[in-house]
């Protein structure tokens, strides 16, 4: 059995007294691709933010390779590098070139050698089809290109797990594909990933396991086939119904 990369136990997250995540448990094994589905506002983004320490948690534990990520201020930075996160809004640094964006953290935070980092950055950019954009600035890129840069920026830190939060939600339809293809190829390489998405076809294609969340809890989980073809709970059925259309004629 593969090693457990992410281990969440009894996670409770509240905002202003409202319970958002309610005693949630979850494991992700090395090399596994888990897709999180759930209605809007159910806490998917909040869960990802708790996993890389952007949100304080009220109780429970989040462990990356057995090491607690919350509460430990001193090594929070170190642990965060093990969790790569890509956001819906790309959040590239506007004042830095593509290469500058990608190289900032490996050089400044991980103290790696510039030459070596640059070489890897160019290599990764080539893989996502942006070899010619290394010296461009974010404003000169399309949304899909920005998002691919953001993925490279996360990858270069060599994270143990990658978190994707609706990374195609802000993109025009024709750019969605190029970003999803990058994620699919990462899945093929055996990267451990936790993906929040509203692209159901993509979820089916990429997921080793689907986790369905509602009301701050995992309501249902299983393989993509099980979940989409035979959802067990009423909530999951209702959720999936939103994405299917019946013929009206």
């Amino acid at each position: 059995m593969a090693d457990t990369v992410l281990e969440i136990r009894n996670l409770v997250k509240k905002f202003d007294g409202h319970i958002i995540l309610n005693d949630l448990d979850m494991n992700v094994q090395e090399g596994e691709v888990v897709v999180i589905l759930g209605p809007s506002g159910c806490g998917k983004s909040t869960l990802l933010r708790c996993i890389n320490g952007l949100e304080e948690i009220q109780s429970g534990s989040v462990r990356i390779q057995g090491k607690e990520i919350s509460g430990t201020k001193e090594n929070a930075g170190l642990l965060r590098q093990k969790v790569g996160m890509v956001f819906q809004s790309y959040d590239l640094f506007p004042h830095l070139s593509v290469l500058g964006n990608i190289m900032l953290s490996p050089v400044k935070v991980q103290k790696r050698k510039k030459d070596e980092v640059k070489e890897e950055a160019l290599e990764l950019l080539k893989k996502v089809g942006l070899a010619d954009k290394a010296d461009s600035y974010p404003r000169q890129l399309s949304g899909g290109q920005k998002q691919r840069v953001a993925i490279v920026r996360a990858l270069i830190l060599h994270p143990e797990i990658l978190l994707f939060d609706e990374v195609t939600a802000a993109l025009d339809p024709e750019m969605v594909r190029e970003v999803l293809d990058v994620i699919l190829s990462l899945a093929k390489q055996g990267k451990t990933m936790l993906i929040v998405t509203h692209e159901m076809q993509f979820a089916k294609a990429v997921a080793d396991r689907i986790v369905f969340i509602d009301e701050g809890k995992i309501m249902e989980e299983g393989t993509a086939k099980e979940f989409f073809e035979h959802p067990q709970t009423e909530r999951a059925k209702k959720f999936l119904h939103v994405f299917s259309f019946e013929d009206v004629r």
């Binding site: 890389n52 320490g53 952007l54 930075g77 170190l78 642990l79 965060r80 590098q81 969790v83 790569g84 996160m85 956001f87 809004s89 959040d91 590239l92 640094f93 506007p94 004042h95 830095l96 070139s97 900032l104 953290s105 400044k108 935070v109 991980q110 600035y137 404003r139 000169q140 953001a150 920026r153 996360a154 830190l157």
Partner: protein, 219 residues
């Protein structure tokens, strides 16, 4: 206009530039850290701290609400302590700095507030320390806006420096007051005013040119 007048004006310009530039510089040396501290200690900041946030906020507001002419007089003892005299352009730098530093701090704070919160989170999520976020993300991101703020501050300080002419400060302001106000030599006053306007314009043009050069954020 005779040779003597020209020398007088040249000296005034030099003094005004000296007061303005040195005061702006020192005001920024104090104002940037103050503004950064105020920004990061906000309850949604990268380093929340209620007490520090409150104290810096009150200090800034307090100093900002004292009218400059009053401040000028009120801190005369401090000026004498630091410079040894209360007359002349060097002495004027003290009240200018005291008045401008909190103003600059607010400018800096509002420039930092313009930085996209998502970008700060991205830096955080990649493991950056707080200092790294300040030096590598916040300040560079805000640089164009900080520069614009610097220009506005400089123009404000220039205006204040002219006011200081009333109470023994030097520079173009003192000339305008001594000749234009006390001796009714309006021609000299107009020339002085023209130079003041010219200096502000020059600063502004140079600044805008600089901002356009370094601003990578928009097309």
């Amino acid at each position: 206009m005779n040779q003597q007048m020209i020398e007088l004006l040249a000296g005034g310009i030099k003094e005004t530039l000296y007061m303005t530039l040195v005061s702006t510089f020192i005001a920024y040396v104090i104002g940037i850290p103050l503004g950064v501290i105020c920004f990061i200690t906000d309850k949604n900041g990268i380093c929340p701290g209620r007490i520090i946030h409150l104290v810096t906020g009150i200090l800034i507001n307090l100093l900002r609400s004292v009218p400059f002419l009053i401040l000028l007089v009120a801190i005369i003892p401090l000026t004498r302590l630091i410079v040894g005299t209360t007359i002349g352009s060097t002495a004027t730098i003290v009240p200018l700095v005291v008045a401008a530093a909190p103003y600059v701090a607010r400018m800096v704070e509002s420039s930092l507030k313009e930085v996209d919160a998502g970008v700060i989170e991205a830096a955080k999520s990649m493991g950056s320390s707080r200092l790294q976020i300040i030096y590598k993300v916040l300040l560079p991101e805000a640089k164009p806006s900080l520069l614009v703020g610097g220009l506005i501050s400089m123009a404000t300080i220039l205006g204040y420096s002219a006011m200081a002419g009333f109470v023994g400060g030097g520079g173009l302001g003192a000339i305008a007051i001594n000749y234009g106000y006390y001796r009714y030599q309006t021609d000299i006053m107009f020339v002085t005013v023209a130079f003041l306007v010219l200096i502000v314009q020059l600063f502004q043009e140079a600044g805008i040119w600089l901002v356009n050069r370094i601003d990578k954020r928009s097309a």
